[in-house]
């Protein structure tokens, strides 16, 4: 299989202790995928490995047949770090943040042109941020902040969106608005991978689920994969589903 994201036999270790073991997985483009598992299951590790932030001990990762191991295509991957990793006091507005998404395409010297401006406006509109474009990033709600980072990735014209616990701290309305933005990315043929820990909304947000526990437990469409048996194998606890009670 050549299209989409292919992960083959990937092992990643911290100080020689493997966090994910020989993981093989493939996901087509145009999907929203939840990466789930208990704490320490390797969710963040998997996202960082795809982003190229951690060296692979074994295996390879490819997108549309092209290896992401070395010479990573500039801007193919948009990594959205956890909220705590971001300096919210940075003197930057939402528009300034989204403009940063054009930097890889502009290189060092190319001036910011009208097509770049259009890309930025398009990204702001797609993420419903037009009204907040001139706000400093700390003066947004949590959901708006997450969307601002998605807008930056959109302006970068990335194909793969890697999000680390994007739904943390969002209330129900913000979750719905954010999920809608993720679905817009999906409709545009992008691949969204998000680590996630809330079981209640998996079915409405994500098409596919990857269940991890140091190794792959199960992966596939949400309906087939996110079932009691697999969840029990990943989390090591029996959950009450109401069936056979």
């Amino acid at each position: 299989m050549n299209t989409g994201l292919c992960i083959e036999d990937v092992t990643v270790s911290y100080h020689r202790v493997p966090a994910i073991h020989h993981l093989t997985l493939s996901v087509p483009a145009g999907r929203c995928v939840a990466v789930m598992g208990p704490n320490g299951a390797g969710k963040t590790t998997l996202l960082k490995a795809i982003a190229g932030l951690l060296p692979l001990e074994t295996g390879r990762i490819a997108y549309n047949g092209r290896s992401l191991g070395s010479g990573r295509e500039r801007g193919t991957i948009a990594y959205v770090p956890q909220r705590e990793a971001i300096d919210w006091d940075f003197p930057i507005t939402v528009r300034g943040l989204v403009e940063m998404g054009r930097f890889p395409a502009l290189g060092m010297w190319k001036a910011f042109g009208s097509s770049d401006g259009a890309a930025v406006d398009g990204a702001l509109d797609a993420m419903d941020l037009g009204a907040f474009a001139d706000r400093q990033i700390s003066k947004l709600s949590g959901g708006q902040q997450q969307r601002a980072f998605l807008a930056r990735a959109w302006a970068q014209q990335s194909d793969i969106y890697l999000l680390d616990e994007p739904f943390t701290g969002l209330d129900r309305n913000a979750r719905l608005a954010f999920a809608e933005c993720l679905h817009r990315l999906r409709a545009d043929g992008k691949l969204v991978l998000a680590s996630h820990h809330d079981h209640s909304d998996v079915a409405e947000v994500f098409d596919e689920v990857v269940l991890l526990n140091g190794e792959l437990v199960a992966a596939g469409s949400t309906a087939d994969t996110f079932v009691a048996d697999n969840i029990e194998r990943a989390f090591g606890t029996r959950i009450f589903t109401g069936e056979g009670a």
């Binding site: 190229g52 990573r72 770090p81 971001i86 930057i92 507005t93 930097f103 290189g107 060092m108």
Partner: protein
């Protein structure tokens, strides 16, 4: 009008003016990156660690500007890189490791100065003497400013991404560590170039104060770069002029002028000044009270 221009009829004042404005701008521009990356304390450590390098250069090569440049650069890099190595190979955090190294280096420097063939005046090192700017100092200021400003302009996009979010920068193939090392090299170069003008301790003021001031005033990193440079240049100019008129030392005067701008921004900055914020809060409070009383 004459009061404004009179001081600059003297050639030494013209030289001082050129060097001051140029280094004021360069320090301010570079300072934005330092403040955005929260490297002010590293810059402080580097300024102290220049001393043993300069003393060693004076012992072996005499007291020439190029020797000081090389000696200072080497000593500061040993402290900066050494601090990183210690923090990575032990449980110490890097600010502790660098602080330990630089204070040892400073102590070593004070002892080494005794053995320099030429007498190194410690107060000159610390506070500079702008009215004795020589040709070499002038060329050093030109060269260092050109290298600093051109490379910062060329690297500003990758640098800003790296300063804001190092992990995202890495996913874009940006070599974050190399960029930060280059930033450290630039800090040291600009410090050595500022040695003659304001001295090593006060050069920290020219580096940090304009950027800290503008940081309190703007939400645009682009504006911050240029405005900090401009404020550094204007502050240096005003400080130099005041020091001549009042017959007080120039380095401290420049830093005091920049310090005054900082305090004003801290108090009265329209968005983030504490006075402006306090007045705005009261206003909102009254507004909501008024809204309640309507019910």
């Amino acid at each position: 009008m004459n009061l404004l221009l009179d001081p600059f009829h003297y050639e030494f004042m013209q030289r001082a003016l050129v060097v001051c404005v140029l280094l004021g701008f360069t320090n301010g521009f570079l300072g934005s990156f330092v403040v955005l990356r929260r490297l002010a304390l590293l810059a402080d450590a580097l300024s102290h660690s220049l001393l043993p390098g300069i003393a060693t250069a004076a012992i072996f090569l005499g007291l020439s500007t190029p020797a000081m440049l090389v000696g200072g650069l080497l000593a500061a890099l040993i402290v900066a890189v050494g601090g990183q190595l210690i923090s990575r190979s032990s449980r110490l955090k890097d600010e502790t490791a660098i602080a330990s190294l630089y204070i040892v280096a400073f102590a070593l420097g004070i002892i080494l100065i005794k053995y320099a063939r030429v007498k190194v005046d410690l107060s000159h090192f610390l506070f500079g003497n702008i009215l004795a700017v020589g040709d070499v100092d002038l060329w050093l200021a030109y060269g260092v400013s050109a290298v600093t400003l051109l490379s910062l302009l060329a690297l500003q996009r990758p640098l800003l991404i790296s300063l804001f979010e190092p992990s995202v920068a890495k996913t874009l193939g940006i070599r974050v560590e190399a960029l930060l090392l280059w930033l450290t090299v630039l800090i040291v170069l600009v410090m050595v170039a500022s040695l003659q003008t304001v001295g090593v301790l006060l050069s920290l003021g020219m580096l940090i104060l304009p950027a800290a001031t503008i940081y309190l005033l703007t939400d645009s990193y682009q504006f911050m770069l240029w405005a900090s440079g401009a404020l550094g240049a204007v502050g240096a100019l005003v400080g130099l002029w005041l020091s001549f008129c009042l017959n007080i030392p120039s380095g401290p005067t420049i830093v005091l002028v920049l310090g005054l701008a900082f305090v004003l921004a801290y108090l009265f900055g329209p968005k983030y000044g504490i006075v402006s914020r306090a007045r705005r809060t009261r206003h909102l409070h009254q507004e909501s009270l008024a809204r309640w009383s309507e019910h």
